[in-house]
Amino acid sequence: MNNAIEIKNLCKNYPSFSLKDVNITLPKGYIMGYVGANGAGKSTTIASLLGLIKSDSGFCLIDGKQMSQMTKAEKSGVGVVLDECNFPETLTWKQVDKFMKKIYHNWDSEKFTSDCIKWKLPEKTQVFKYSKGMKMKLSIAAAMCHGAKLLVLDEATSGLDPVVRNEILDILLDFVQDEENSVFMSSHIISDLEKVCDYITFIKDGRIIFSAEKERLTEQYGILRCSNSDFEKIDKTAVIAFNQNSFSTDALVHKSRIAGDYIIDKANVEDIMLYYMKEGKE
């Protein structure tokens, strides 16, 4: 089994929102960024993946197994960091260590302690007094000290300052140095994903728009800059979305489908997302 994550035809219906036929595959040893606007369905997908909610159809596999069917040892191989610190707020990290080592048979107390000290988490301060960055670091320290092979992060970097975000991204890059380790992280901070991810999956209104290697995406798409009259001559099947003013047009295009001598700038992941999020052609 070479896939860390395999999500097939996942559907989940709520009165005001639906997740429709979500398909995602993350090979082992890579980082996948899961991106989309607020309310697009990222957290619902992650909750389904982790077995926190029941899907209406489809399935989610981690290393070939559904979370609910995993043995305790297999479950220990999944580290989870959600958008909030989910440890009881009245405890200190020392106390978190004390009870977590009774929950995980392979809890590495030494690593947890050294990470907490390394990241300057105050020993005697209760979690509710921590800054958002400290809370995230505590969650990451906990997720990484029970032999996790897969880290699942849901908006773990949101609301953090750039310095802390960079530190966390470095931790993730370190983690995947072991080729058996993988990371699936959702975020709407695209620049973070661009820095560390090998794969990008984009969800909009509950549907996956694309899921591909980051390099392939940036090779495949470009920003066409031309006059409005030139834009009229362009094959519109190549155009994803465009911005137009009185004189010129900027458009996200499939580079290979544009014939002729036009200026096509490199599109980064953020450009691709923003154009896809725009109203208009998809």
Partner: protein, 209 residues
Amino acid sequence: MIGLIYKDLMVMRKTLVLYMVIFVVYGYMGIAYDQGGLLFAMVLVLSAMLPVSSIAYDERCKWDKIANTAPLSRKEIVMAKYLFAILLTVFSVAVCFVIYLFDSRMPMTEKLIMCYMLTMGGMLYQALLLPVNIKFGAEKGRNIMLAIMFVPVLFVVAVSNTGLVDLPAVVLFLENNEHLIPYIVTATVAVVYAASVTLSVKIYENKDL
């Protein structure tokens, strides 16, 4: 599962200390003014309220999301809550017993009967409270509990009014067979508690977190 109980104890430790102080004060007043009911009521309140408070604490930090990604089954998570609740009852009844050891007026048999009744009462309360709180959460659960707490009384009144059960005859039977009461009470509480655990596990297993 031990880890979860340990976590609940650590989270609730300050509240527990506070309750212990209240126990001592109420115990002293109870012995001094011959008002044992005060302390007994407190024990029942502790048995009922602390497990619900621990559910409220879990909700506040969304602990269940992390617990469910840990190597724990949903059944274990629910069972841990019930064991924590039983532990609290046993502990508070034990404290109550120790306090009443200082009351020389109360015979030992009476003290033991009191402890037994408190344990059964506390567990019965928990059996009613926990499924409601697991289903609706601590906040909604509290209101729903207020709404349904008189249902058993209404049920007994309704049953006796319909004549399906001859209540005076039942009372007479119990009066004539006092030695059977502990067995009947224990069996009833055990059945209700087992049903409550089963229901809570079922609710929690189907819950979206």
